[in-house]
Structure formats: structure tokens, C-alpha cells
Symmetry: C2
Subunit: 344 residues, 2 copies
């Protein structure tokens, strides 16, 4: 019997075992487990163990290649490419990190392109994997069409996450990771499951009219954050992490799934890494020390830095384990026992 | 006597002459004139000839080095650096373009760092200079503290513009360029000059309370667009185009001016260029053709692409000249005749 709280390591082993028993190759299972458990550990519930069933459903539906082994293609120059070959993105990302770090240090900046990956994860674990090497990082990817462009009436963009990180020598990095929709789709799904109305301004229904009903929103369209500016950023993400890298846009990813958003979408991802030590070279200033002054100024007027709630939850979980509800424990047991038979 | 409309070339010659007569070196004067006239030509009034007096005031106050000749420092790798040596940014940018384009084609991506430049221009002319070479481009810079962080109470960030472009084979590029404040400071200045109240939600006053008075806003703080998400992007711009490149943050740029925003600020700028042909290599798809499908989908639901109003104004101005009011013509004559004596 599982019990709460569960240590981060124990939860990671359990989630990895669930994926292995469901037929996911070991190359993919461990990286997926790390990312899912990182979300749960950080109280980022929309990207935590709640995602496990969806990943298994994606496997069961044949919408991901669970045995795929990603392949690194270093084409020289500033572009490191990893072909995920239809597998989940996580192993492909981990495979690309060493080459990306080395190339960013060599050139000052470099890009990691992941192609043909099935994507369900938050981007901040990837950002943190790069800030841990002293690099600044920017990551973005399309999703599947759920967001209307500003002034539009129907889904076109994905929730297109945009994430950035900056290393801080003496603590957790500065990291933000947000959907370019007003809210993440996962958050709307939580409202739907809880049967609660959403705040106004998040979505339009299938007729293009404003709605607070999560069901209507999920069959209509989310709205971009920040009006036409957020809509422009969502467009940029489609272009850079879609056509530019030879991979799918959000409408194409939705088409590939046959129009359903029940499964994780397949598309590409773009990660940029910058070496501040190289960019600041010859200027006689320490980029990291100077950045601290900016963070102090933000905190000094009682504004917050992003990710602080995640880091607080993480510290608590690492010290005392990850708190899980009875229902969550039962769901993990069910997925462990029944594997793909447990999902539709 | 000047008369309206004025051809783009005639206006550019006039603006260049104003700068030359005011003691700005020819190396800087022509690039500044091109950018100012591009703004006026595109009916982007907040970055058009309205800026000329401010530039001269910056010269007169000794806050820019009008005789500085920028210096290119190609440090190898993906970073091209141009030291503006305290001069206006425009000549430094133009000097860096050929090396940036060549390096982006060689490596797939490259960065142009401009250091120690005095900055007053919109970023879209720079973006268009790169899309003209078939490259996608991203540009950003701090400004001086006028924007409060989300949840904060006083100015910290600049209006920190963020601009992006994607080349379109058969027409004007896809380009956006926006302030990460709800509105550009130049737009608030126009409200102030016209004595009109601003819409709600743009700014807070010196006590941190919401205001619609442009005077109160200019002595208080603007707000970031999109709440904490826009605030996070403004922070990213401070970090990447400030400490990372060894240059000033917005509060530091304001301090350097002695706390006034009457003059153009000195800081750095970061421009990233991407070669889609390199990023898509081996994928068997044409990134530009596929991007057109996305633009068609946006336009197909009656949403707009950014910059279309600019391009329409440009076509009109190139065909029929730039329309200028009597007051604008008189101001240009005054600046031409009296140079630095015409400004405070």
C-alpha cells in the first residue's frame, strides 16, 4: 500500500515503474518520471502525476512511439538537433543537454532543436537543467490548437509555453514558464474536473462569445494573454518552433491527432542557451552579481519573483516528502497494476 | 519653405541635415535620419520626426557622443559586438548587420550585441534590416525606469521593447515590435501634449495608485502588459540586454541621466538572428512556405497581422509623400535653422 507523504525518490521510482510496465522503453521512462515528479514535488499539480494517465492514454492510442530511442545530430555550428522519432520529448532533451551546453560555451549561444517529439511537460525542468550549468536559457514550443488569435474567433495557436531562466549563484535560479494563453489548458481542465466556473476573460465558446464555463471553453477557444501582444508572441513561437525547425504548427499537430486533444501532441521544440560569461566578456562586469541587484530591486518593492512558490514547495517536499491525496495514491496504484488497461 | 506632403527622400535629407548642422557626425547622422523618417513614413508618429528635438536635446545636454564612431569587435563564435562608444545606436546597428548576417548563415544563429549606445528608436527598422536577408530576428533592449513590476509600486523596468520578424518571400515581413509596458511611453507623451486622459489600466501615480492622468503617470509608473507574464518578459529583457551583455539595466540608465527622462537613455541592445534555412535543413520542408499557411489561418478568421497599418502608410507615403502638419513643418524649419539653440 502506498502512503502519503512519499519521498521524491520513491515517487520517481513508482512513476518510472508505471511507465516501464506499460511498455515504455527505459530510455524514455526515467526522464518522463523525473519531469512528472518534479512537477508534483513543486506543487505544480497541472504538470504532476495528473499527467501520467494522459501519457499512458497517448501510448495506448498509438500516438507516441514508446520504444523510440532519440538520436543526436550535431550538424556543427550553433544548432544541436535531437530527433525524438515520435517518442516523448524528455529523453530527447536530456540527450541534447551536454552538446548544447558545450556549444553555448564555445560560441556564446547555441540552439537545441527537438524534432518529432510527443510533448506533455512543463518547460521549467529543462530551463533549470541549463541554468544549473551557468547558462541563461529560453525555451518554447507549439502545442495543439486551443487558443484563438487576438481578434479571432476559433482555435489556432496552442497554449505555446514560453520559458526563461537565469542562473543565480547562491540559490534557485530566476525562472519563468508560462502559457501564452491567459491560462494553461491544464488549469482549465482542473476547473472542469472540479466543476467550477472560470474567471472571465479566459476563453470564448464555439461561437466566439466570452464564456466562464470550462466545458464551453474546452470546445471553444482560450484567449491569448495580454491581447495582441501575447497573440504576437504565440505567433512567434509557432514560427520559430514550428516551420523554422521543420516541425508542426499547432493546427498541424491537432490534425495529426485527428482533431482530439485527449492525447499529448507531437511537434518540435526550440531551446536557446546563452553563456553570460561570454556575452559580458571584456566589459569588466560580473553579469551574475549585477543581475542580483535587479532581483533585489524587484523584491524591494514587494513584487515577487516567479517560481518562488514552486521552490518553497520543493524545499518542503525534499524535507518531508510529497503530499498525495487518497485519490491520487489510489490512481497511482491503479495505473501501476493495470497499466494501459487502466486508461481509455 | 517646406511643404507637405514631402517625399521620403527629401525628408530624410532634411533630417540628416538637421543632425549634421547640430554637430552630429556624418557616420551617425544618416542612420538616425533613416530611422526617424522610417517612423514618420510608416505613420508611427511616436518614433517619427517628433523624436528629432529630443535627440538634439540629448546632444546639447552632453548625454550622447555626437562624434563617436562605432567599432565592430568580432570575437568569433556566435557573438558580434559593436561598441557605440556613447553615440546613437543606429550607426552601430548598421555597422553590425553584415557580420551578423554572415555569422547567422554560417552557424544557424548569431547575436549582435550593441554596447554603450544612446537609444531612442523603434526596433522594427532593425528587424526589417534582417528579414530582408531571409533571417528571422529578435531584438530587445532596456530603457530607463518608468515601469513598475507586476505587484510593485514604483518605476524599475524600462518600457523594454521586444521585437520579432519573419521574412515573407512575396511581401512585407511579419514583424511585431511592442513595449512590454501596457503602452509605449511615447504614446503617453502624446496624450500629455494633447491634454487628454489615458485609458484605465495603463499606469499608477507616484503613490502607486491607478491613474488616467498622463502627467501623474509620467511622474508615477507605467504598468507591464499582461500582468505578471509581461512583467517577467520585461525582467528577461533587463537580464539579457543588460547584465548579460555587460551593459546597464533600466534603473542604472536612469541614474546615469541624473534621474531625468528628458533625454534618450544610454544602455545596450541585443539582437538575435536565425537562419530558418539552416534550422529546417534535412527536414524536407520549406519553412517560409509553411509559415504562409499560418498567416493565412490568422487572416482567415479576420484577425490581423501586426504592422499592416504601418505597411499601408508606407505604401501611401512612398507613392504620394509623407503628410506633415503646418506645425511639424515649422518645427523642422526651426530645428534646421537654429540647431541646438532650438532645444532646451
Amino acid at each position: 500500500m502506498l502512503s502519503s507523504p512519499m519521498s521524491v525518490d520513491a515517487l520517481a521510482s513508482l512513476v518510472e515503474a508505471i511507465f516501464l510496465r506499460a511498455g515504455v522503453d527505459a530510455v524514455q521512462a526515467a526522464p518522463i518520471a523525473r519531469v512528472v515528479v518534479a512537477g508534483e514535488r513543486d506543487a505544480c499539480k497541472s504538470h504532476g502525476i495528473y499527467r501520467v494517465a494522459g501519457c499512458l492514454a497517448t501510448v495506448k492510442a498509438g500516438k507516441v512511439a514508446p520504444a523510440a530511442v532519440p538520436e543526436l545530430k550535431d550538424e556543427g555550428g550553433g544548432i544541436i538537433r535531437v530527433e525524438a522519432k515520435g517518442g516523448f520529448s524528455n529523453a530527447a532533451f536530456e540527450m541534447g543537454v551536454p552538446a548544447l551546453v558545450e556549444r553555448a560555451r564555445e560560441l556564446g549561444l547555441a540552439a537545441l532543436v527537438i524534432n518529432d517529439c510527443v510533448h506533455f511537460a512543463a518547460l521549467w525542468p529543462e530551463i533549470e537543467a541549463l541554468t544549473a550549468h551557468g547558462l541563461a536559457a529560453l525555451a518554447m514550443c507549439p502545442s495543439y490548437s486551443t487558443v484563438a488569435p487576438a481578434g479571432g474567433s476559433e482555435p489556432l495557436f496552442g497554449t505555446n509555453p514560453f520559458a526563461f531562466g537565469w542562473p543565480r549563484p547562491d540559490g534557485d535560479p530566476y525562472v519563468f514558464d508560462f502559457a501564452t494563453s491567459v491560462i494553461a489548458r491544464g488549469d482549465i481542465e482542473i476547473y472542469r474536473r472540479e466543476g467550477r466556473p472560470m474567471p472571465e476573460g479566459w476563453a470564448i465558446d464555439a461561437e466566439g462569445a466570452p464564456t466562464t464555463d470550462p466545458h464551453a471553453a474546452l470546445s471553444g477557444a482560450l484567449l491569448p494573454f495580454g491581447g495582441h501582444k501575447g497573440s504576437a508572441i504565440a505567433t512567434m513561437i509557432e514560427l520559430l518552433a514550428g516551420p523554422m525547425i521543420g516541425d508542426l504548427t499547432s493546427p498541424e499537430a491537432l490534425d495529426l491527432l485527428g482533431g482530439t486533444t485527449r492525447f499529448a501532441p507531437k511537434h518540435g521544440e526550440l531551446i536557446l542557451a546563452f553563456d553570460p560569461a561570454r556575452f559580458a566578456a571584456g566589459r569588466g562586469t560580473d553579469p551574475f552579481a549585477r543581475a542580483e541587484g535587479l532581483f533585489e530591486a524587484i523584491l524591494g518593492q514587494s513584487a515577487r519573483l516567479p517560481s518562488q512558490r514552486r521552490y518553497a514547495a520543493r524545499a518542503e517536499a525534499l524535507a518531508n516528502g510529497v503530499p498525495l491525496s487518497e485519490a491520487e495514491l489510489a490512481e497511482l496504484e491503479r495505473l501501476y497494476e493495470h497499466g494501459l488497461a487502466a486508461v481509455e
